[in-house]
Amino acid sequence: MARMTMIEAIRDAHDVAMSADERVVVYGEDVGFFGGVFRCTAGLQAKYGKSRCFDAPINEGGIVGTAIGMAAYGLKPVIEIQFADYVYPAFDQIVSEAARLRHRSNADFTCPIVIRMPAGGGIFGGQTHSQSPEGLFTHVSGLKVVVPSNPRDAKGLLLAAIADPDPVIFLEPKRLYNGPFDGHHDKPIVSWKKHPLGDVPEGDAIVPLGKASVYREGGDVTVLAYGTMVFVAEAAAEATGVDAEIIDLRTLLPLDLDAITASVRKTGRCVIVHEATRTSGFGAELMALVQENCFYHLETPIIRVTGWDTPYPHAQEWEYFPGPVRVGAALKKVMED
């Protein structure tokens, strides 16, 4: 066990995977010599050489497109998109190619690639450094979509993603890189080094894809959350005194439906929280699934607490961000309805 920030945990996962498997190659914009603008790949080029960790031209479609070719050859590329907001130029390669290759070729060619990207807001990044596009990727059959919420999971899930035989979208909540964040932006920042989930096991400590974790047990209401929102939900539960059971979904696709239904059937109430815009966000799918699977157990309408259906604004960041006050209000509302 070592105390790590999420950045260090991600770097460590790369390191473990690269030393165990020569086929793992790492690249992206500023990823090589400098080690990435968030430093998630720092030191890897020096350790593994320029042909296993290198800078890429600024062409996200090209980064994913070449990775697909490399995967078809037999390598395991782990690539970084500098911000999730910049993944759209690669959307075609991801949706039309990476996601489809196994199926359309009947596994003659496969695509074991990991596409990492920092996502989410809370850093005054405005509309092009704050987005949470996970909902889009969950609509694409053939992809897996992962969002870790802490260093331990970040390492374990990234190792699982690299080991996975299929393409994985790996969204890193950048507001959690250095420490947990509960939405109280005016409070001082705490580091992961002081948090139990900053305790990261050494070596090949995989956290399996497709399994949620119960972050906080409770009996009143089930909160479905992932990434930063796990901590926001915790803060809201503590502030309101609502005995919320917080499920950290960890993998959105494939989803751990059993964990969700078990909890909602127990509590009879459900609040869904995400930072992405509301309409057709992943919350809609969660709501649909809960409705389909727990209809007769639901005491009150499910509530979504999400980012608004606007671009992520710069100055109004904290009015946009679904913080503990808004989540708390939803918790109280489901208890009152």
């Binding site: 697909i68 070719g69 050859y73 199926h103 359309r104």
Partner: protein
């Protein structure tokens, strides 16, 4: 702003001839066969810039093989090439007809372009990988991929290796160096560069070949391919098949103000060559050169194959609506099958009789394969892949939600 500034207007390029017009290729410059020298494989791209504006040709009007690029193939190999092209042409004719008979939903032929993929298919080594478009089935035929398997795919029958998931002709065969065809234009061009980079990263000796049509060079993935190939000096041969048309759109809409598609390579420091795509010997020689260049660590080559799409774009297309019906016949670079046949006859290695006989044999072979395939099934009849196959293979292991959906569907 100077006072005499006049209103601007939009330039929209137009082809030389439309339905009803008389085709005129007199402005299309065709260098003499043998006139382009064959440089060293390690040549500096800057020193062969002119090759992007000329055309490597081996077969002259008289059917002789002339110049530096001639002499690579034995008569046996040439006869094999002829056989491949004839096979592809016959295969196309039969499948086109099968589509019209309702045996499948769709087909795309190679008429007039057979030399490009058939000759290229003989220039790579086992283990190398092509990233083809839908118009390079010759790569498979030149590698003796079973015709019946191709047909099974076209018919989406029970023996279709792709289990009915893909539209007709979207073949895939890793074993035959043929990457799974995508319906999306251009995407595979940059993937070929990634494959080549992977070979270089792994210290391997294999190379890749990317393929793209003239119209599709406009796609942004073309740029991505050029940038990555150039930066990492990837061992890849990047092929543009300029068959003059992109469905109803003539190549001038993609080419714009530039002289040739091959010239696009210059902005990237990539060796760029134009070749007579209807000349089996020329395509083969240039392909060999580029493959050797890639394999010996000299990096990428961009090849523009100049040819002509003599047929419709696909079975959904009727070219009479947008181009002169005489254009194919007027195409000044002739027919690839004819030209190779005449060459073989000229060098005394072939006769009209043997040709007629070969055609009959090939038709027979294709029809035998077709019967076999149809005995299994066509899209309309016989045995098909199971609906389960639709759920399989989305992921290596079927995740719970797909299992549930499959059960819901009742399969």
């Amino acid at each position: 702003m100077s006072s005499e500034t006049r209103p601007l207007s939009l330039n929209v390029p137009e082809p030389g001839c439309r339905p009803g017009d008389t085709p005129d290729f007199s402005e299309f410059e065709i260098p003499k066969a043998g006139s382009v020298a064959r440089p060293e494989v390690g040549v500096d791209p800057d020193d062969i810039r002119d090759m992007a504006f000329s055309i490597v040709r081996v077969l002259n009007k008289e059917g002789e093989a002339v110049g530096d690029w001639a002499g690579l193939l034995t008569p046996d190999e040439l006869r094999e090439g002829l056989r491949h092209m004839l096979t592809l042409r016959t295969f196309d004719a039969r499948m086109l007809n099968a589509q019209r008979q309702g045996k499948t939903s769709f087909y795309m032929q190679h008429l007039g372009e057979e030399a490009v993929s058939c000759a290229f298919g003989r220039a790579l080594e086992p283990g190398d990988m092509n990233f083809p478009t839908y118009r390079q089935a010759g790569l498979l035929i030149a590698r003796d991929y079973p015709l019946v398997t191709m047909m099974n795919q076209i018919y989406s029958n029970a023996e279709d290796p792709l289990h009915g998931r893909q539209m007709p002709i979207m073949y895939s065969s890793r074993e035959h160096g043929f990457f799974s065809i995508s319906g999306n234009l251009g995407t595979q061009f940059v993937q070929s560069v990634g494959w080549a980079m992977a070979s270089a990263i792994s210290g391997d000796t294999k190379i890749a070949a990317g393929w793209i049509g003239d119209g599709s060079t406009a796609e942004s993935d073309f740029h991505a391919a050029m940038v990555f190939a150039s930066t990492y000096d990837a061992p890849v041969v990047l092929n543009i098949v300029n068959n003059q048309w992109a469905i109803s759109t003539f190549q001038g809409i993609a080419r714009g103000g530039v002289g040739t598609f091959a010239a696009r390579g210059h902005g990237f420091g990539i060796a760029s060559i134009r070749v007579d795509g209807n000349d089996y010997l020329a395509v083969h020689a240039v392909a060999k050169w580029a493959a050797e260049r890639a394999r010996s660590g000299h990096g990428p080559t961009l090849i523009e194959h100049v040819t002509y799409r003599a047929g419709g774009h696909s079975t959904s297309d009727d070219p009479a609506a947008y181009r002169s019906q005489n254009e194919a016949a007027a195409w000044p670079m002739g027919d690839p099958v004819d030209r190779l046949k005449r060459h073989l006859i000229r060098i005394g290695e072939w006769t009209d009789e043997r040709h007629t006989q070969a055609e009959a044999e090939i038709l027979d072979m294709v029809m035998t394969a077709q019967k076999k395939a149809e005995a299994i099934g066509t899209l309309a009849t016989g045995k098909h892949p199971s609906p389960r196959d639709m759920f399989e293979g989305v992921y290596e292991t079927m995740p719970p939600h797909l299992v549930r959906q499959r059960q819901e569907a009742g399969y």
